[in-house]
């Protein structure tokens, strides 16, 4: 083993331990911790976050990293070690550029602002959140400025933190394509008579039965219950301590059958990615998904490409009907498939159908671009939001809670994150066309055999973690880098069929 890397390992181990501890505290807060705990527990998390920071940003690591970036040392490294050095360099660059004092202030601000956002949303009062949003944006602009090299735009820096393969230039091309092809399709569909009756979805569904059906679904898809657990939280999410401890949450709504079902399938997609990370890289900086976009591609592949297909439901729809005979006995599989794919303009991103979903993302992307190009003030945001929804979606939010205040991301300072959702959906489509050519995909689904699909994703994508980036993975798997065409093709084919266009 390379001596220099060996020295680095002690720091990496600490970084891993502190970051795992932070994850456990986060999990605990979202799923279990009592109401009044956070004021005191946040002190603990603050100290552990400081220690995390110090385990990376220090003279020893700086020197070791510099040495390891040397050609001679690089030759001594394995591919995994090279990947780890690359990831550490990225994190190092990101953290080191920010003065410690500012970093602490920012963390304090976001822990308050996320609560302020929740309150403002509940009370539909944007002006309560606006001053915090202003400060967050100011911080993020500064953070980006610290790292900007000549010719770079600040927003590109933020995008890169979530997905290194996409700049504004790439996203503009991607989103222009989606806009030009999907917005017209969405308008066509919303001009049709409403022939898909989905009222069955909104009657009463016993929660315990929802839970046990979702548990069945998780195993059916391949979630390994010896290496993971399912809990409940307000918003479903996936979090892992390492590849042998992958946790997902779900939420159950009495009068909405779909919500829990597609949430569990979505989170299982994330979870399989993490569970399938190879043991050789677990608990290292590359022992995680390649990027936010890549991660989202797996959750959306399972949720949409697999989970909303007729083939997937053929072997198991009967079980769902047996679970809820009264509610579903007169609903044919055909009607159910149309129901779970019903499309239309929508106001809320998280409840949007597959077709209108990317439009929600594009609106956020365009607004974030405006913010970081200094083309809009915080006070103007609610109106810009409404105008864009009217223009692209043909609907206007009746209030800010359903408009500018709907997402939590900005309250945490997460700018540049949203595009990953659309990138993920597009990658899922690109993978779909490739996998269809590689194996009898539909036939497998129809007989309830998801193993070959899961193993393919495991071997081609999951197990490699972040040793490759998004485009390297796509190139290795499909022979091509990211290509938006597949996404547009997929959506058009699918929705033309659903709506007999």
């Amino acid at each position: 083993m390379c001596k220099t890397f060996e020295k680095l390992q002690a720091f990496l181990d600490k970084t891993m331990a502190f970051s795992t501890a932070r994850s456990l505290f986060e999990w605990d807060e979202q799923t279990l911790a009592p109401l009044e705990a956070s004021e005191y527990t946040s002190k603990v998390i603050g100290i552990i976050s400081d220690e995390y920071w110090k385990s990376i940003i220090n003279d020893d690591v700086r020197k070791l990293l510099k040495k390891l970036q040397d050609d001679k040392e690089q030759n001594e490294l394995t591919d995994i070690e090279k990947g780890i050095v690359k990831e550490l360099s990225k994190t190092y660059e990101q953290l080191e550029s920010i003065p410690p004092e500012e970093y602490r202030e920012f963390n304090e601000l976001t822990s308050i602002s996320s609560r302020k956002w929740q309150k403002a949303k509940n009370e539909n009062n944007y002006s309560e959140f606006a001053p915090y949003l202003s400060k967050i944006i100011e911080f993020k602009k500064n953070f980006a400025k610290y790292r900007v090299k000549k010719d770079e735009k600040p927003y590109d820096i933020l995008l890169r933190d979530f997905e290194e393969c996409f700049t504004m230039k790439d996203l503009d091309i991607f989103f222009d394509k989606v806009k030009s092809e999907i917005i017209p399709l969405l308008k066509t569909i919303s001009s049709l008579d409403d022939t898909i009756d989905k009222s069955y979805n909104y009657v009463k569904y016993d929660i315990d039965k929802q839970k046990s059906f979702c548990h069945f679904l998780s195993s059916y898809i391949g979630f390994n219950h010896n290496r993971g657990v399912i809990a409940e939280s307000a918003h479903p999410f996936t979090l892992n301590l390492h590849n042998h401890d992958v946790r997902i949450t779900n939420h159950y709504i009495k009068d909405n059958l779909e919500s829990a079902i597609f949430s569990i399938i979505h989170e299982c997609g994330h979870a399989l990615y993490e569970m399938n990370i190879d043991n050789s890289i677990t608990q290292t900086l590359v022992g995680c998904g390649a990027s936010m976009g890549m991660h989202e591609s797996q959750s959306r592949f399972y949720e949409n490409v697999i989970g909303r297909s007729q083939a997937f439901w053929e072997p198991i729809y009967g079980k769902l009907v047996d679970t809820y005979p009264e509610q579903l006995k007169s609903i044919s599989l055909d009607q159910f498939i149309k129901g779970i794919n019903k499309s239309g303009p929508s106001l809320i991103r998280t409840e949007a159908d597959e077709l209108s979903y990317p439009i929600h993302i594009i609106i956020r992307y365009e607004i974030e671009k405006m913010i970081f190009n200094d083309e809009v003030t915080v006070d103007e945001l609610p109106d810009v939001w409404k105008q864009k929804y009217q223009e692209y979606m043909g609907v206007t939010p009746p209030n800010d809670a359903m408009g500018i205040l709907q997402d939590t991301h900005w309250s945490w300072g997460e700018f540049g994150y949203f595009p990953s959702y659309a990138i993920g959906s597009a990658i899922a489509a690109q993978l779909y066309y490739h996998i269809k050519d590689t194996m009898p995909f539909e036939d497998y689904l129809k007989v309830g055999n998801l193993i070959p699909i899961g193993e393919y994703l495991r071997d081609k994508i999951h197990k490699h973690g972040a040793t490759m980036n998004t485009n390297q993975i796509l190139k290795a798997v499909t022979g091509e880098e990211f290509k938006a065409d597949y996404y547009v093709k997929y959506l058009k084919e699918k929705y033309e069929m659903i709506y007999n266009l």
Copy 2:
């Protein structure tokens, strides 16, 4: 604020943070973590434990502590700060005396040996555990030796770590008294005809109803659900992150109504102690119970003195009958009270009644003394165990799983812990006689008003945390230091009434 103490504070904060993180990992492992997680998570816990150790044992802390033990500096300290320095000195002495390498080896050993113990117990195979027990004892003997000062006995060192007010000399007096008075009483009772029919307790009790009744009990007793949560685990326990995050677990057995009920009352006693710690000392080294014995006194006060009394059940027994009308409609309150206090010789400590319980403790204490006085070998332990049970309890364990292998404590290296259980019971009795004289204790219970009792315990004991030791607390509350007489008196009065002697 004292400058020296201020410098120490940075280390104390880290110690607190690492120890809280360890607690959360422990909680998680016992209640939720998936089966295969531990192999990887233990690496994280190992690193955080190392950091905990390093945050205490280092040259800076050594110097600061030395300085703070100075008379001049002591004068500058508040009482709380003095208490913190005293606690830190104790922990420092305990940890520093052990060579780091040995400390690590011991921790590795106990993480294996606890699993070996579980396996040996399941398979009723003492020889599988014996070699590990030997090694643990060897470590503990060395650890004690490192700290022993002249005239001290090694076992006294171990006892002191759990309860600083009790040496072997004190315990010998305490236990001799219990033995001479309680063993004859136990023998008398077991010679009587069995007139207490408790078969009602062993029929089927719906688990969901058990859960909701136990939830009711927890609130009834005063458990604040905004500052605590209840989960499930194999063995009930209490764990806290701080005074605003106190967690208890329970277990539910289908054909044993009592088990969950008295477990929840017991754990609530522990939980109230932690929840009532004053905010001025939370997250400090004195923001915890005064000692293991003091802690156990609170759980046993609630479980036995309150929870097994007729007065406690008078206002709520009807609710229990309403919950299980079929099972309990023909069981009078009188019969129920006799049932939950039924006594007899027993083999398993955790299932023992209040009267035979201390005998279990005395047996363990005597065996531990023999071990650390080099009067017995590990191979001889099973037989010594059996002989003592026969002698004191009149019954012999049919196998080692129900004998020497029944408790987990030794597999963790916890020698000197058991006496705390009996000390706790005895303190509970001492407090009982004092509180009875202070307020209309029974009348409060009879009208379901536990608030004055809870507030009394909070103000006199709980809120002070570990700023006083066991005897200082008892002296301040009852006017006397620990006195075993009350315990014997309490048990005799209670059981003579139950059995009409």
